[in-house]
């Protein structure tokens, strides 16, 4: 069994309002070294074998919204 880790993040040109709020609150709570925050998803798949073509297809068609999100994946073990 192989673990594949998929990262799905908002495209950089889009405002990440949740991330913005987290950064503002961290600053207000004394963590003034934090200047920005972006929040994404990490999806860990347990698969029989890591066929990169099929994983890319899953990411593109089902696990991300390509209009607003970018994705990348890595095969962990």
């Amino acid at each position: 069994m192989v673990t594949v880790r998929v990262f799905v993040t908002l495209k950089p040109s889009l405002l990440d309002s949740a991330g913005r709020t987290v950064a503002d609150r961290l600053q207000a709570l004394g963590y003034s070294e934090v200047h920005g925050t972006r929040i994404g998803k990490v999806i860990e798949l347990e698969v029989d074998l890591a066929d990169e073509g099929r994983i890319d297809e899953m990411c593109r068609k089902l696990l991300s919204n390509p209009v607003i999100e970018d994705y990348r994946f890595e095969v962990v073990e």
Copy 2:
């Protein structure tokens, strides 16, 4: 400026119902090689400098819920 990537995931002993649903749907849609899925958050912080003690404190107190979640972080650049 340094980027710190924080991964927040449900503790392994807890049922991840969203992840379970994603795995079931992937299988139903023909990706029979997928046996399990767990969904977490990835939070990218832009910080002035990566003081690991302070980052660990932010993760523990503010970015994760230690009752149900685990976290880990890596300094990217």
